[in-house]
Amino acid sequence: GAYGATSHGRRVDFSGTVHFTAMGPLTGSYAALGIPIVQGTETAAYLINKAGGILGKKLVVDPVDTKGDPADAATALAEEVALNHPAAIIGPITLEIHGVEPIFTRDKILDGWNGGTPAFDHNTNKYLWRCNPSDSQQGVAMAGYAMLKGYKRAAMLFTSAAASQSFEPLIRSSYARLGGKIVATKSIQAGLPSYSSTVEAIVKAHPQVVFTQLTPPTASAVFKNLESLGALNAFRWVGTTFMAGTTVVRAIGPSVSKAHMVSFIGSTALSGAATLFRSTYRKVNHHAVESGANFAYDCTIDFALAMAKAKSFTSTKVIKAIDQVSNPPGITVTTYAQGLKLLKKGKKINYTGVSGPMNFNRFHNVIGGWSVVRAKGTAKGLVSVIQTISPTQITKFISGKL
Amino acid sequence: MPPESLRGSPGSNGSVASGPTLTVENLTVGYGGTPVVQEVSIRAKPGELTAIVGPNGAGKSTLLKGIVGVLRTTGGRVLLGADDITNVVPESLVRRGISYVPQLSNVFPSLSVRENLEMGWYIHHGDGRERIDQLCSMFPDLRSSLRRPARTLSGGQRMMLALARGLMLDPQVLVLDEPTAGLAPKVVDEVWGHVLEIKAAGPAVLVVEQNTRRSLGDANWAYVLTNGRNNLEGPGPELLEDKDLIQLYIGGG
């Protein structure tokens, strides 16, 4: 970490270091999911250190590669814990959580998890905090949105067992509760050059909307197939957060994506926070923000604030402070520096990050609103918000009302 | 029935052209551990049959492999005429006129018999069709099997194919490792006849044989190799007189 240790031109004197572990698959086929975790954490660390570190200590981020494998993750984490005694872990993703959960629980280390599986919707592990909304909330939001738009027939198309297993049952049940009908469900293997038969089957089922999560090459192939079938306009697409990522948008083609697809991202931050995040991210990582990095970023800052609040790195104490810095009531803060200043003044704060309000429920799951976004249609593949769905709406959707 | 001259190039017929002599001086060869062949010296003159005999495992095949560049030598020299060809790679030695028929793995099993023969013509242009035709009249068994993969040949047919491949060229030095092993008596006679004929036409013929009696009988010069070293040498028929030698290597027949 070569984070400039200056703030307003003066040197910050750190009285030692504190380590955060950023873990996830950094190599192999899931690397695209793990690398943003590390980069988001490092972006946060840069800003935290610029603001004087945590309790006077410099925050050091240790990237740990899990290779997407719980077994590798377990040994790698054991090594990391022994060598660096991290105060918190950011990550990993769903794939490895069951391998590392026993370790951080045993060693009483805070974990800011980045997985979506609904299996943890009712989490009772006090060290585990999920910083991104569960897939289940997203599923409900997607189903509700489609019904609001008046789409009563839907299909689902997912690559990878992971996405389909977590989203499929959720969307299906929420959609049914709201009165919609799922007419086709397809799960396809990522990365093949063509999916014509699958696409054809979906077109034949005549849905009005298709819920989806696809890897970029798959998305690209699927849309090509759709185009050659002349069925681009047959229905609209509602995608998960993943589909709002720039690579996916570019793979589909920004203008095609703009015309046919909306996707869901965690409710937008106040614009100041997002701009700071984006520019710092670019400075630290030398490229544009990758999807998913925002959660790791928010999580890191939230934990850091909680440590500042608890005046301790001891996890049992920090846990008690997390709610106090992230949930209302309190003054909304969007950066670490802001929060720190208010905490020093003895104010109650409510951190709201780039991924929206970081409000944890009693199961340590963050509950937030959702933004519906659409591609801008420019070559960079950026998206813009067209609508928002509030937490109250989600609650309504869950009870079967629109 | 006996085929026409085996020397294809016109002009060389009849006249005993004297090609280069193959000279091996103090050659040391092995497989990485203690050298199997140590400081062996032999000489094979053009127009002569030079035989190497010796017990199994004496290092005869190893010596030949050292000469033709299949094994790297660690001491001594090999000369072709005046040229030093020590450790020259085998693919260039063929072009210098050394033709070698190994004892084991001497055919390309998955190539057809015809392709095996064509491989013997590899360094020339074309496919050596006429030459193949000549050799097939020498080994009629091969003609009927030209299109079969060599792996389906019988033991003796394999040896014939290996020999025929070695004879595709007009070599200056012909190196044969046990050319008659596994051949029927009639074929042995024929093959041996050809070998004598070839040598008479000019090239140096260096042959390793377990059919000791016969090879010594016909050899202009012969070497006895034991334990990887030169043991004895002399004109073949003379060696046959040596009672001790008979006792040790040839058996009292």
Partner: protein, 352 residues
Amino acid sequence: MIQYTVTVCTVGAITAILVLGVNVSWGWVGQIDLAYYAYVAIGAYAAMVLELPRAHPSPTTPNSYILGLHWPFIPSVLVATAVGAAAALVVGTIALRRLRGDYIAIITACTALMLTAVTSVDNHLLGGYIGVYGLAEPLNTALHLGPTGYSYFYLGLCIFCLLLAYLVLERIYKSPFGRSLRAVRENDTAAAAFGRNLFWLRLRGYALGGAVGAFGGALFANYLLAWNPASWSLTEVTLLIAGVVVGGQANSRGVIIGSVLIESALPQISQLFPLLTSNSTIGPSIASILGAGGIIVMLRFRPGGILRERRAIDRTGGPESLVPHVPAVSFARPTTATGVAVGTSSEVERDA
């Protein structure tokens, strides 16, 4: 630090067991078996579904596993081992009956991939891609050890199992059965001509490997307390195979050393270049490159592995009466050398 050492040793012991299993099919039978990790996974899954209670207490996804028998540890591990052997018998019956060498490699790789597809796509069977989890520490219901004490206990258990596996396999290797396997590996036609039932021998060897794999897998799952499809892939089996090759095929002690080198020493190479590997973007890649490069380098210096396969060696100089009476005809090598330098000699018999 001690806790870390315990972790490393436990995983090391389990890996060593796994490597001993790979060594059976790769080293003894000479088969390129890429499905090996599937047997590890089968053992792990089998142990888990035997030990776990049927329903997992999670309200949103009421995970239930096909068996969920809530068995105790020891019978679960034993049955898991048997299941691994049975699975290997099934795959072996298909793959070994008529196929050879490289074909088996591909077939087994495909089998492993199909199994991964099935387990990760169908979430009613074994929990889909999330896998099975939520196991209580085995045997600790009776032992009541604290976290540290328990980790020592489990380490001890794994080392005991490793020793057991080692002794059993050594015994088999030296037996006529082991020798027959090697004969089949070296030249199957000749082995058949000398009365060996090729298919049956190969199959039994293969199942033995599968059983050891499943045994190791069961121990592994009980250590991790979780298992999912992401934990078994070509990468995993390759590392085990690298252990076998680096250590010395078919030499049990060698392969254990090899596995220790691969699993523990190799990752340390990257510690030697902290500047390169600490970078979060390229660091992990560089670490992987160093790891893979390390394997290549090790093989470069010892292509035959650290320890050679043990040949039956006779060291008696031989009784006096046996000394050849005609030295000139004997085959004794010119000077000394009865040991041969493998890998340097220029000609290795190819199968015609």
